[in-house]
Symmetry: C2
Subunit: 145 residues, 2 copies
C-alpha cells in the first residue's frame, strides 16, 4: 500500500465508491464527476486528493484531501485545510487514516503552510490527537439545503 495522488480512471471510480461511506454522494453523473476532477486538477498542489490503494485488489481503501488557503495574515501565510478523510469499513484498524493524515500534513508543510487544520466530531478527537493535532476552536455551520 502507498499514499499517492489520485490519478487513473479506475482510481476515480474507487474514490467515488469510498466517499459514499462518508456522507451523501447520491448520483453524480460521469460528466459532473469528470468536470469537478478537472477543476480540482487545475489547482495543482493547492488541492490534492490522496489515496491509499490495496495493491493486490487494486481497490482504493482510504482517502483524504487537503487544499491550501492563501492569506494576508501571518506574513501572507498559508493554511492547509484537511477534508473528507475516510477509510474503507473493511480496512479499519490498519492505521490507514493515520497514514493519510501524515501524507496530507506533510504536503501542507512542504507547501509552506504555517499550520494545518481540520474539523471533526468529538468522537474523533482522540484519533487526531494521536496524529499530533490539538483542539483549538469550535466549528460553526449554516446549511442552505
Amino acid at each position: 500500500m502507498h499514499a499517492s495522488n489520485l490519478s487513473s480512471e479506475e482510481q476515480k471510480f474507487q474514490v467515488r465508491k469510498l466517499l459514499w461511506q462518508l456522507t451523501v454522494c447520491d448520483s453524480v453523473s460521469d460528466k459532473d464527476f469528470e468536470d469537478r476532477f478537472q477543476e480540482l486538477s487545475a489547482l495543482g498542489d493547492d488541492h490534492i486528493i490522496s489515496v491509499i490503494e490495496d495493491e493486490s485488489s487494486k481497490k482504493i481503501i482510504a482517502t483524504g484531501s487537503i487544499f491550501i488557503e492563501k492569506k494576508f495574515l501571518r506574513n501572507c501565510g498559508k493554511v492547509g485545510h484537511i477534508e473528507d478523510v475516510v477509510v474503507d469499513s473493511n480496512a479499519r484498524g490498519l492505521k490507514l487514516g493515520k497514514k493519510i493524515i501524515a501524507f496530507v500534513t506533510e504536503h501542507a508543510h512542504l507547501m509552506g503552510c504555517y499550520k494545518v487544520i481540520l474539523d471533526c466530531s468529538v468522537e474523533n478527537k482522540a484519533f487526531y490527537e494521536k496524529c499530533g493535532f490539538k483542539q483549538k476552536e469550535i466549528q460553526m455551520v449554516k446549511y442552505f439545503i
Copy 2:
C-alpha cells in the same frame, strides 16, 4: 457604509492595517502583499475579501473573507469557508461583523454552496448564533512554526 469587494490601493493598505488587529501580520513587503493580492484576485468569485468602508473617513473598518471549496461529496457540492473576520476596535457595537457575515454568507449561497462554515472561539459562539450559525464539530490544529 457598504459591504463590497476589496479593490483600490488605498483599500488594500487599510485592510493590512485592520488585519493587524486580528493576529500577527508582521512586516509584509509591498511586493509580497501585491503578489498575494494578485493570486487571490485570480481566483475570482472562489475567494473574495469583503470590506466595509466608512465613507466619511475613507477608512476600512471591517473585513471578512470567504473561499469556495469544491468537493466530490454531496453531488460535487461546494462549501464556503469564512475566514479572518475583523471589525476595527473603534467601530465595535455597530453590527458591522454581522453585516460582513451576511455578505459573505450570501456570496456562498449565490455560488451554489450547500453550506458555509467557520471556526471561532467559544467566546464568539453566541455572536455567530445570532448570525444564524450552529455549532457542529470541533477544530483541530497542528502548527509547523
